[in-house]
Amino acid sequence: MNPRPAAESALLAGLLALFLCRAVVAVAVVPPWQGPDEPTHFALAYGLTMPPEMQRPVQGGVLQSMVRHGWWALYEDPPPDPLPQSFDRINGIGEGTLAQPLYYGAAAAILQLSRPADLERAYIHLRILSIVLAIATLACGWAGTRRLLGAEIAAGATVVAALHPQFLLAAISVNADALLNLCGAFVWWQAARIVSGQRRDFAMVLMFVGAVAGLFTKRIGMVLIGIALAVSVWSLWTTRAWTRRSASVAAATAIAGAALLVAAALFFGRPDIWGAFWLNALTVRRPIESATLQEGFRFLRMTVDYFWLIGGWLRFQPPEAWIWIARAVILCGFGGAIVVTIESRADRRLLGLAWLFVGVQVAAMLYGVFWTIPSAPQARYLFPVFAPITALLYVGLRRGSPAAFRPYWPAAFVLLLAALDVTGFTTVHIPTYLR
């Protein structure tokens, strides 16, 4: 049974309000610069609002702000003395580039409108922008899941998203992830419209617009292009609806995308560097066969452990018991989703779309972490496909609940996630940041 439309709207409003309240608490507790690579992303965006000669001093201002907010103290390191005036002398903080300009351009435009008095206020304005983008991400994710899998699963998936501690941290971070996550949720929504047959051609164009926006936001956004292509081919293959109109739409979309790429290269000013930047993400840096099974298991364990919550720059973890509960939720959820996909012939095609999103993203993450840009498998790399992940988790967890327990299942589900969230605050963020 699905909720009545009025109750459904109220539930969605309640979930968005819940997420907003959590975001306010998180902003109050988590000091600036604790999100991954925030100094780099902020300096690029804030620098665009200034004359070229003033852009580099922004980095010095950011470093001073990091000292003020105890960035080094939290990691039990003394700040550099003397404090440099640019990032190139700080280990672990890059200067970044404008090769993917969409987030920086949008953030700079917002700052031009909001006119912050100083760097600290500019940071707060961009944090608010990230929260707004995250709320839009939740709404797009809900719309896509509802179109594809119905109102109940959409509500359950949005409960997971609205109470997810790591997604909340991504939502209060000043970096390009916030926009990329929105692009991913938008692509999911349009893919659901395509698969369910709602204005298929128009949805396909919008899906590619979202994917190209993702491509111009972060390098990992190129995965969205692959997903969009796969969804298009799959849709045309399964519906056998290849018409002259479809061909025209596909051609127009491809031409528009290519034109955008050329325009971006010209805008960047140095097409050679721009091209090298993108090829760099595809360059294999170690022999494919050198990866071991042991590394694979380690990658899997870290992905699971870091997915629900890890604070700072992969620094602050919850207590062991908390991590075990989160592991159980993730493994039961995905295990149950696999069972449902195998068991239910009716849902297989629809769940297959969610698995396509998740599978392609995980494969890209695996490829990137092992062979091209070695790093830890951070949860945020999965957030461009967060909506299908939450849908699969909800479907799987519901499948795993015993039949006799079903009447209590919705309340138990919400309370379990809320308990994980609140204890995430009380065992990680509050003791770490409010000493």
């Binding site: 309640g14 819940l18 109050a28 907010h69 919705p410 919400v414």
Partner: protein, 216 residues
Amino acid sequence: VTAPARRWAPAWIAAGVVFVIALRMPGVSLPASSAGLRRFQIDINSATSVSQTFVMTADGLEAIEVATAGTPPTATGNVRLELYDVSDGASFIHGTDVRAADLVAAPVFRFEFQPIDDSAGQTYRFDLHPSELSPVAGVAVWATKGERYRGGSMLINDRERWADLAFAAVAPAGRSSWDRLRDGSDGASPAALTIVAFAGYWAALGVVLRLFAGVR
């Protein structure tokens, strides 16, 4: 408003009260012994020194609070405060001379020192004795009648007594989430806003729980 909704709202408000109480409880119980009603004073003078041992339950021991009182006619001289780690022998951690008048200026005196990073599980001894610099008079500390802290003992002139000093060990882990939220961090956000946002969180969670529970 339906009958179940009328029952639901008070239940959720009651759950919120329990939630606030839980937020007010510290994550770790630190060594402490409150004076309570059955208590007595011990004068610190040239013939009397007082010590208290305790086992620290968290890292970051940064201070010891002790309940003090002035005695007639007036507080004069200095008191020597010292902290030793006695887990394995007795190693000196910190010591300072405090003016007697400062010691009794408030009901509780806070003996602060450089935070000890790995204090959890260590046994410490806190000493108060007359300073060699200036004889002390007019100063007393409060102690409990009977043993109230089980992790250590009070000693008067190095002899163990069936009593405990009224004291409290201080470390960041001993502060409750509520205290931390109320005090805020680096002033980035007003504490009141945080508390209001938590209240909104609870209200929104109640709405979500109520509406989602109707979904099958």
